[in-house]
């Protein structure tokens, strides 16, 4: 096996209320992500609203994207959700094989 060629990209992780599932995943694709992975979660944050105060567990969404898309997602999330919803987001650097898969043509 030949060594894999790695591309440096961003991993955006969003944690939030389950009611937002449809909206958040739809918007992620609109903002330029080519895919996403969702895992169930629960948690506690600064807002004092526990997961479960609103029905459904929390969710944790990850998307591997390029850095400009990451920017767009973070400011979109911050603008739309930070005020009224239990949502947080962070971004980190990752390396992937076949980087073209994660960039909209």
């Amino acid at each position: 096996m030949e060594p894999a060629v790695l591309t440096r990209l961003r991993l955006v992780t969003i944690v939030g209320e389950t009611v937002l599932r449809e909206r958040l995943t739809r918007q992620l694709l609109e903002w330029g992500a080519t895919g996403y992975t969702v895992t169930p979660s629960s948690g506690k944050g600064s807002r004092g609203i526990r997961t479960g105060d609103v029905p459904g567990e929390g969710l944790r969404i990850e998307a591997v994207v390029d850095s400009s898309t990451a920017e767009r997602i973070l400011s979109g999330i911050a603008g739309l959700y930070f005020e009224h919803f239990s949502v947080i987001a962070w971004v980190s650097e990752v390396q992937v094989v076949r980087g073209d898969k994660y960039v909209r043509p």
Binding site: E17, V19, L20, I49, D53, V54, P55, G56, E83, H84, F85
Partner: protein, 320 residues
């Protein structure tokens, strides 16, 4: 009243609910697994729908018209009374008032089921088409409250999307869809499955379900300190007022004592399944702790323990 209350209090259904609350208060980690709880809820709703449809097939369609119209009207009034009390008496903000009003404009399916079971236990079973009335009561209630909120807060583009969710939600699919299945089913075919959806299995499953409802409600009791005395008063007063209104509506609509009791209990109840996500998405600045605490920690236990016998009393007075 004392005797009726005792019947209700000494029933395993009510006692299991109380046990669930106590388990939560002593901080037991006991709780039904989420999927089992959901599965039981689906079974109970579907069973009620099916049985309603089978009964309806025996009746003539004409009898349902008047109750339906009156229930629809009741469904339009309840969110308005709730909203007015919350704004005027409680002094709450627009979003919180509209959000809570959506809960009290909607219906608690479990309260409905418990009332159906209570009425049957009192030998005054409710009319077969009650599940249809639940659907007619629930839908305008949520819609009106959300519309008030949206109008006052400056239009939300999500209301359509949210109403679709309410109309195609679990409760309505199971009750209305179940009624359709029961209505169409051949009587002999229904007879072969009927014991699974009725009698001891239905009631036994309800006991288990209420055990968990007790845990869920008990979990909310802690929040009462935070949400204050007005909400406690509101949760009880609203139940009694809407219960009386519902009993009057039932009597006027020509329902029997059982049906009137159930309509009153539905009217007195507040949603904690359909309304919360709808409110969360359309009125995000409404505090969900307020509405959930009021409906789950106050109105629901009140109805299960003393409300239903009380509405039965109302019904006995008002019907004929």
């Amino acid at each position: 009243m004392g005797a009726i209350l005792e019947v209700n209090l000494l029933s395993p259904i009510t006692l299991a609910f109380v046990l669930g609350v106590i388990a939560r208060l002593v901080r037991s980690e006991f709780s039904l697994p989420r999927d089992v709880y959901a599965g039981l809820g689906i079974y109970l709703l579907f069973a009620l729908g099916l049985k309603g449809g089978v009964e309806l097939a025996k009746a003539s369609w004409g009898v349902i018209v008047l109750p339906a119209v009156i229930t629809l009207a009741l469904g339009c009034i309840r969110p308005l009374t709730s909203y007015a009390v919350l704004r005027r008496v409680g002094g709450l903000g627009v979003s919180d008032s509209a959000g809570i009003a959506a809960h009290y404009g909607s219906v608690s399916a479990v309260t409905f089921i418990a009332a159906m079971s209570f009425a049957a236990g009192m030998d005054t079973p409710a009319e077969g088409y009650m599940p249809t009335l639940l659907a007619l009561l629930e839908t305008p209630g949520i819609a009106i409250a959300l519309t008030i909120g949206a109008l006052k807060m400056g239009g939300s583009r999500n209301t359509r999307e949210v109403m679709h969710e309410v109309l195609t939600g679990r409760t309505l699919v199971l009750l209305v869809g179940g009624m359709a299945v029961g209505y169409v089913s051949a009587p002999e075919a229904w007879a072969q499955v009927a014991p699974f959806y009725d009698g001891a299995i239905f009631k036994g499953a309800l006991v288990l379900f209420l055990l968990e409802m007790g845990v869920v409600a008990g979990e909310r009791l802690n929040d009462l300190r935070q949400t204050g005395a007005f909400l406690v008063a509101f949760g009880i007063a609203m139940a009694v007022i809407h219960g009386l209104l519902g009993a009057a509506a039932g009597a006027v609509a020509g329902l029997g004592v059982g049906g009137t009791t159930v309509l009153a209990a539905m009217s007195a109840s507040a949603s904690y399944i359909a309304a919360p996500p709808a409110v969360r998405l359309t009125l995000p600045d409404a505090n969900p702790t307020l509405s959930l605490t009021a409906s789950l920690a106050i109105t629901f236990p009140f109805n299960i323990i003393v409300g239903i016998p009380l509405y039965y009393q109302f019904a006995s007075w008002l019907v004929r």
